[in-house]
Amino acid sequence: MISRRALLKSGAGAAAATLAAPAIAQAPKKISFLTWNIIDQEPMIRGWIARFVKDRPGVEVEWLDKKGPEIPVFYQTQLVAGTPPDVINTQGALGLEYAAQGALLDLTPRLKAEASVRNRFNADYLSNWAYEGKNYMLPFYITKTLLFYNKPMFQKAGLSDPPQSFDAIIDAAQKMTSGEASGFLTLNFDWLYWPLYAMNGVDLLSTDLTKPTFNTPKGIEVTDRLAKATEAGTINKISWTGRWVEPNGAFAAGNVGMLHAHSPAYFFVKGQGKWVTPETLGVAHAPGGFATPNSHGLGISTASKNPDLAWDFLKFVTDEGAQELGVNRKLVTGNIAVDTKNLADLEKSDPLVYSILRTQLEHTDRMVGNWRLGNDSRVKEAFWPELQNALLGRKDAKTALADAERKVARELKRG
């Protein structure tokens, strides 16, 4: 005979199961997607999400977009709260820092299991997000530095071809410097100026990333020459003081001979400089083909409750999404098939953009300034202000590099 208590228990259990079952069945699987300052692409991203969820009943994707400076603050507070976005888009070396903290999921096993996904990408770009041999992000859209030059200024100075060495850069810059015109400008954030050192055989760190290696006679000589050229006005001072708008704006004004910048700078320069046409703007690799990448990657937060769904979304965005993104924003995505097709179209429709984007897919084995460090921002903070002191004449090159070496070594020791 069933006791009254047992009867009540079984009744309550059945009722709870009945009530809970549909709730569990209907509970949507939700992931969130954090992008880096591409709010202008809202219709496209909403379209991706609509297409992604269409074949996946009960799936929801929440999209968030933050401006660049807001992303680290937002993401890290979300990490502490235990609710980071499932899929995150970062720029430069930030992804590696998050990976080193344990915030990002190791994608290596998934890439090994799905060779078609791994082979979809340019291997050099993909390896930019490898930390301690593991891959943490996939290319979303990619950029690296190149040399833009002002053809009329080149002609006026009697120059025909873009420079092929560091010496040639300084010589050409000197020839174009007069009055308010200066010969050369570079962007400086995120190691974007590093090709100037790489083309002289100077590296920041040893290959095992444990020791600074820049404080050499050659490193001092290069720094000294850059400082002297800056003092003389051959290199525009904004190279070492401006951020993004100022140097690009200065080149757009039309009185700077060369701009060493990453590919998105073109659209800003084009927007501001009425002189910019395929006939007046030259595009070339920096000497030696050296370039610093500053790409956007996509990763999955370790705390994601739906990592498989997030992985599916990543695959979708870097394939179907990449096609649309490449066309809409005139950029390269690191997806070989997508970029090949888009560049072929651009060659006919916009030859200047084509020539710029083509550089992004060439010499990808010569990318520099992309040390796989888990504390890149700290090393940068230890190095850059000292270099800036030398370049702007506050310290001599020897003293500044010695100080920088001491600080970088300390950061590397801290780990």
Partner: protein, 312 residues
């Protein structure tokens, strides 16, 4: 027995009948909500911050005891700390200039000057502006290529080449300070104006009858009577110097080099730029101690009783 009970209850009620006790309870009840908020949002974070400053901590790793390592790092190895501390003190040092300027303007608009109310409004207009907007406006004004300041300087022949105000190690900090002063000037002026208008006129009348000249009246009556207002301005100036994050962030981001780095921007960059939250906490503790010391000194300079209630 009943009598004893009544006596006990009478004793119990006696404390409540005291006016002082009732006032104390009332004051406590009224203060409790704000004290709770103060505890939650000030005392607790401060305590947590102090703890963080003696730990190694990052968002996804368990904390480890660090002792005074972060303080050692700050005091012995971090050049940026010393640079930002120096800059913060220079920022604070600029406050007296701003207060003196505001005093001058307040005296002018408090006089019989024609259109004084209009000038008052114009000067005050800068204060309600968002600091970010102020930063952007001044950044454009200082711009080397299209800035109105360089344009004006070149037009009147004072300079041959434009001055890179915000890109120069020498000019950047003074340029940011000028923008800061411009914004806060209106606020200082209103505080001082209020102080001026509360000075009893009969003091001036008596001084005039005694034959005291205007300058003596200013030194002997106006300035001493304005001491609470000037103290308030000084405290606001100190606080602004410590919290001018947005202005620096928008105008120079602490650069060039660290020429305009303040403690507050160094804290932010250490925490959110370099994920050194533990180290940023140690910097915050130092900033807090400094702020406390400066406020104490300002209070002493103001007579030592600023903020206390005047009793009848």
């Amino acid at each position: 027995m009943m009598q004893a009970a009544g006596q006990v209850s009478g004793e119990r009620g006696a404390w409540w009948r005291k006016k002082r006790t009732r006032e104390l309870v009332l004051v406590t009840c009224l203060l409790l909500p704000s004290l709770a908020i103060f505890f939650l949002y000030r005392v607790l974070p401060l305590g947590w911050n102090l703890l963080l400053s003696v730990q190694y901590w990052s968002p996804l790793k368990p904390p480890r005891w660090a002792g005074l390592d972060h303080y050692e790092e700050m005091l012995l190895y971090d050049d940026v700390f010393w640079q930002s501390l120096k800059n913060t003190l220079i920022f604070i040092g600029a406050s007296p200039f701003a207060i003196a300027l505001a005093l001058g303007i307040a005296l002018l608009v408090n006089s019989d000057l024609k259109g004084a109310a209009v000038y008052r409004s114009i000067v005050f207009l800068s204060y309600p502006l968002m600091t970010v907007a102020v930063g952007i406006i001044w950044r454009w004004m200082y711009d080397e290529r299209g800035g109105i300041i360089n344009f004006a300087l070149r037009e009147i022949g004072l300079v041959a080449k434009p001055i890179p105000f915000l890109q120069s190690f020498d000019w950047a900090l003074p340029s940011v300070i000028v923008a800061e002063i411009w914004q806060v000037l209106g606020f200082y002026m209103i505080i001082i104006l209020t102080g001026l208008q509360s000075i009893p006129q009969h003091l001036y009348e008596a001084a005039s009858i005694d034959g005291a000249p205007r300058l003596a009246q200013f030194w002997r009556i106006t300035l001493p009577m304005l001491r609470p207002s000037l103290f308030l301005c000084a405290v606001v100036g100190i606080l602004n110097s410590f919290t001018s994050f947005d202005l620096i962030y928008v105008m120079t981001n602490g650069g060039p080099g660290h020429a305009t780095e303040l403690l507050i921007t160094h804290i932010y960059k250490s925490g959110f730029g370099q994920t050194k939250f533990d180290y940023a906490a140690a910097l915050t503790v130092v900033q807090f101690i400094l702020l406390l010391a400066l406020t104490y000194l300002a209070n002493r300079a103001a007579g030592g009783n600023a903020g206390s209630l005047e009793r009848q």
